[in-house]
């Protein structure tokens, strides 16, 4: 269910390459260097604006509208994740849906970013529901433990 920091670094390396090829959209003056296997949360944080721009550009140009994509969430609305969470984003009639791979949760929106933002909110909402008490089935208690390990509660 969980990824590793090494996987995370590998997966975002392409964003660093993309950033240097798209200098017009650069939003910082300091280059962000991501080395495979040594990415830290600080480096990931620096990449967030570029990730958003990357997704936005792909939304409008490179992806076909009906193409499903898998992204890795590193942050929720207000909380960080220890490991990236796989999310499938795809067209859903006239809008988009973002679905968590590891459990049954989704977010909807008019575009991919809206759908991802909605899912981020839903994951936090589920997390808050789950930490209220322990009156859940084994399946949900397992998801609760997974989220407690995944989410950095600060």
């Amino acid at each position: 269910m969980t990824g590793t920091a090494t996987n995370s670094a590998t997966d975002i390396t392409f964003l660093s390459d993309w950033k240097y090829k798209n200098k017009d959209s650069d939003t910082t003056s300091t280059p962000v260097v991501v080395e495979e296997g040594v990415a830290t949360s600080i480096e990931l944080e620096k990449l967030i604006p570029h990730i958003a721009t990357f997704i936005e550009q792909h939304n409008s140009t490179e992806f076909r509208k009906n193409e499903a994509i898998i992204i890795k969430l590193n942050m929720l609305e207000t909380k960080r994740l220890r490991n990236p969470l796989d999310v499938i984003v795809e067209e859903d009639d006239e809008g988009f849906i973002a679905r968590a791979v590891d459990f049954s949760l989704f977010g909807c929106g008019d575009d991919r970013i809206d759908a991802i933002d909605a899912l981020k909110f839903e994951i936090e909402s589920l997390y808050f529901d789950l930490i209220e008490d322990d009156n859940f089935t084994e399946e949900w208690l397992s998801i609760k433990n997974f989220l407690k390990e995944l989410i950095i509660d600060c």
Partner: protein
């Protein structure tokens, strides 16, 4: 799939009346179905959408532990709470 026949309000109403789900209002409506007093299924009902897109409809069915055709039946009425409990207890 009968997603075109139902809107989000129908899903919420059936959830409340038939499955006794109490929804909390956030960005979306979320509610728990309790089986024998234990929270067993959690459904998200999107706000602000009159018609339900196909994948959203399928995702809601999955959240309730139902196939799409059983979810159709739940919304259309033939599938009772007792039958639903039987399905998710398997």
């Amino acid at each position: 799939m009968k997603n075109a026949q139902f809107n989000v309000k129908d899903v919420k109403t059936v959830g409340e009346k038939k499955l006794h789900i109490e929804f909390k209002s956030g960005k979306e409506f979320n509610g728990w179905f309790k089986l024998n007093g234990v929270k067993a299924k959690r459904i998200t009902v999107p706000k602000g959408r009159k018609t339900i897109p196909r994948k959203t409809y399928t995702s809601m069915a999955k959240q309730l532990g139902l196939s799409v055709s059983d979810f159709d039946q739940l919304l259309e009425c033939p599938l009772t709470k007792a039958k639903y409990e039987e399905i998710i207890s398997k």
